[in-house]
Each structure stands twice: as structure tokens, then as C-alpha cells.
Amino acid sequence: MTALHDMTVAALANQLRAKKISATEVAQHFLARSQADTSGAFLSFNPEATLAQAKEADAQLAAGTAGPLAGVPMAHKDIFVTTDFPTTAGSKMLEGYRSPFDATVVRKLGVQAGGAGMVNVGKLNCDEFAMGSSNENSAYKPVTNPWDTSRVPGGSSGGSSAAVAARLVPAATGTDTGGSIRQPASFCSITGIKPTYGRASRYGMIAYASSLDQAGPMARTAEDCALMLSAMCGPDLDRDSTSLDVPAENFARDLNASLDGLRIGIPNEFFGEGLAPGVRTAVDAALKEYEKLGAKLVPISLPRTELSIPVYYIIAPAEASSNLSRFDGVKFGHRTKDYTDLVSMYKRSRAEGFGEEVKRRIMTGAYVLSHGYYDAYYLQAQKIRRMISDDFQQAFKVCDVIAGPVAPTVAWKLGEKTDDPVANYLADIFTLPASLAGLPGMSLPAGFGEEGMPVGLQLIGNYFKEAQLLNAAHRLQQATDFHLRQPGGAK
């Protein structure tokens, strides 16, 4: 029999349903594997809680009341609040924090009544408050890329991508604000999807930039992502004011549909001089594969691609400065030992609790929202955001999905960009446009580029077209084997 950790979510779910294996046995296997990990992917474990969830899944499987993914293990990015595990958002600010409730996504995926029945193995490392693209902004420890341990796994969902690539867990949750699911998926050669903004509830997802933040699954295959995404989405109208009143869907329904006649838009701005040659070669080869599957490549233009960098890095910090004002050392989170009055308590607690990148974004955000600058920066950025979104609608008149690279390069070396925040921001260029427009986007393994490191292909769909994206991704995975390759680090 295939080793448990080599099985996909779909395969494990089948084995569990057929009672060939028990959820407890599966949980023990993945827990042992994850606890032995040295990549830094995990921030916390609670074996007792994991095994209790597995026991519950076994009971549901025996009683015939089990959810569709009952007993399949997974792990949550430490941005989702959980009652059974600490939640830190990768920040010292929340060291030891225990949430009194579970995030909606956690409930929907978990073993609670009505949930998909998945078992949480632990909490995954990430950039502090999801701000970063290398996981080096975690206040606890960096994460190494299983394909080359001298390199970053991407970010901010770097623990998620590293854990799935190393087969510590078959799937994980991630969150994507400016590319934080797609870019780490690309760097670690796994599959990840960010749904349309408003599809997955943000309730209990620690807020970074509320008009951009979206949850999504990260797994090895498009099929696994479809199964998990189907469980994660759906209206949460009383708890998330931006949640859309759009019913959950079975996103796996069209996985095998033919791609004959599918029009794939190729934005020429995604193939400019900043693109590493190895990345370009891999992406071009994937596009050729699509042509073989019957798709047609259509040249399109997203003329404001470059502008999406300043627009995003104005809007996201503005929202972050507002969201992170709740961390004041009063009701939860870090409080300094050394203060004289209330204001000095606020200032010191925040200075000690937040890391450098978080402070930088709070400062930038506070500045662009301050009196006299709001119109010139924040409002201007929100206007260009509409122009960027309109550009996509223009493009979707002549194509069904858009394809291109996820990032200009493969994963870089740990430490390579830590002193240069702007260099990090520029590397987000291909994921930011879809984020600003709130469109669904995904990354799937497309081969290998410079130094043999993984390259991801990005697919962007129109609003609510997740099933179509997953169909396109699944068909490519039927025709190629990149998603089956595993890093040497994974045993």
C-alpha cells in the first residue's frame, strides 16, 4: 500500500470512508511526521486535541454522520484562530494567545457537526500578521524550502507550502492578501487557490488588509484544492460584513471537463524583462501543454500591472494600520512591563510586540491616512484599483482564464532580501493585480527553473469562476507530472 503521507486528500478520504484505515491511525502517522520536522513549518502542536478530533472523526465514520473529508489530516496557518491550539499570527504580540472561538473556516473544515471532518495536526508558521513573501518576518523562526533548505519557502503562507511539499500533511489552509497562497505554492511546487473575495468567511482570520484578505486551500493537487475549497466557502452573513451571499459550490464538479476551445489570455506585461529565463521557459512549456489540450492562447494586456505595486502597498498598509490598532496591550496580546501611563503602555507594548515589517506597514498606513495625505495616496490608490479591476473585465471579453507566471523568479536564498523591503514588494508584481481586483487565482506546479527550483503557473479567473480554474488546473495535472514530484528533503 502507498505510504499514508504519499496519499492525496481524495485518496485518504476514500480509504477512511471504506474503513481501510482509521482516522486515529492516520492522525498518529502525520503527527509523528510533523513533530519530527526540522524545517520550521510548525509553530504549535496539541497531540491530545489532534487525537481527540481523530477519535471524533472515527465515531462519525462509524455512525455514518461523517463529513466528506472525515479523518483527513490538515494543518491551519496560524492566522486562523482556534480554541484547541494557540494562535500567534507569527507575532510576539500574540505569544501564547488562546482564542475563545474557532474561525468560520476552521469550523467548516473541522469535525464539528456540519463540518467536513478534517483533523487539525497543528498550526503553521507564517510571516508576522501575513505580511511578507519569504516567511522570514515570522517572529518565531524562518521556514526552509524543502526543495533547497538554503532557500525561502515563499510567504506569507510559507509554513503551509513547506509542510505540504514535504508531505508532513496532505493539505493546509493559507491566506492570500497580495499573493500569500499563490507565491509560496509556486516556490514549493504545490497547488493553491485563492477564491473570489468574499467567498470564504474572514471571521476568525486575523485581519491584515480586510478588503483583500481571503482564505484558501493549499494541497498537492487541484482535485484536493477543489474538495477543500468546497468545504471552506459559503455565506457567513452575520459574522463577516464582506461575506458574499453566494451559496457554496461543489468546485470539483467540472474537474474533468474538456478544455477544447478554452481561451487563455496571456498578458504581455507578465512576460517582460524582469522575468527570469528559467521561469519563462517553464511557463511557456505549460502553455504549450494547454494548446495540446485544445486551449487557444490569446494575447491580452493588463496595462496597469506595474502600478499594482504602489497601489497595493498603499491600500494594504492603510487597512493594516487600522486593523492592528486593536493590539494595545489591554484585552489580549503583549503588554510591556515598563510604563508610566496609558499612552506609554500602548506605545511600548506595540514597539515590543510588533516586528520591523509590521511597524513599517503600520507607519506607512498611518501616514497615507493622515490629514492632508488621504486624497493624494489612499483615495488615489482606491481609484486606480478600480481601473485595474476594469482592465481585467476588458480582458475577460476575449478570454476565459488568464495565465502567466506567479513570480518573476524562483525561491530566493534565505537572507537575500531581508534588508531591502522594496525588493520584496517588487517581487509581488504578478500576484497583486488579481488581489486588488478580488479575482480568484491559483498556482500550480509547472516545472523547474533556475537552480532546479520549482516554478508555478498562475491561473486567474473571472469572479466566481473557481470551478473553471480548477478544471483547467486538473487537466494540466492529468497531462503532466510536476505535481507528483517530491523534494529530496521529503522522506
Binding site: P100, G198, S241, I314, V330, R385
Partner: protein
């Protein structure tokens, strides 16, 4: 456009962040580095363009909902205060605000 050290101090105060001088200087350099890429955005003609606060408003009207103001959760003061830095008799403790 370039920020000054005074502006950094002013914003740090607004954001309730204590910044020691050397950290303030590094912050100033990095934020100014970032604003060099913001200039391109300021030059864009956005006359007549409506800001986009909720991305789905690109294709349809989106109204932010309010829910009725009724208690939906049982009282769980203990769980809510479990992670508080200082609590006494069920109350959050803060430094004295009024003399």
C-alpha cells in the same frame, strides 16, 4: 516627495509606536525608499473614476450589511479574559487614566 524625521515622529505618535532614534532613522530611509515607487501612481489621471472599496463592486453593487443588535453568543467572560495581560475581579486592568 520625501518624509522628514519630524514627520516620522508625528506618525509614530499617531500610530502609538515608540521608535528609538536609530530605529526611526532606518524607518525614515525605508519608507522614503518605498515612496520612490509611489510617485508613478500619483501621476495617473483618475478624473471621474470612483474609488473601489469592495472588489466585487467592479461587477455588481455591494452593500455592507449590518446585523440586528442582539446577543448571539452566550456570555463567556472567562474564556474572553483568559489571554488578557491583567485582570482583576472580572475586569481588565489598565493604568490609572483619571487622577
Amino acid at each position: 516627495m520625501s518624509l522628514t524625521a519630524q514627520e516620522i515622529d508625528r506618525i509614530a505618535n499617531l500610530a502609538r509606536l515608540e521608535l528609538p532614534p536609530e530605529e526611526g532613522q532606518r524607518m525614515l530611509d525605508q519608507i522614503n525608499g518605498f515612496f520612490s515607487i509611489v510617485e508613478a501612481m500619483r501621476a495617473v489621471d483618475t478624473t471621474g473614476v470612483e474609488p473601489l472599496p469592495h472588489p466585487i463592486a467592479t461587477i455588481q453593487e455591494v452593500a455592507l450589511r449590518l446585523r440586528d443588535d442582539i446577543a448571539s453568543e452566550a456570555n463567556q467572560r472567562e474564556a474572553n479574559q483568559r489571554s488578557a495581560p491583567a485582570v482583576e475581579r472580572g475586569l481588565f486592568l489598565v493604568p490609572k487614566v483619571i487622577e
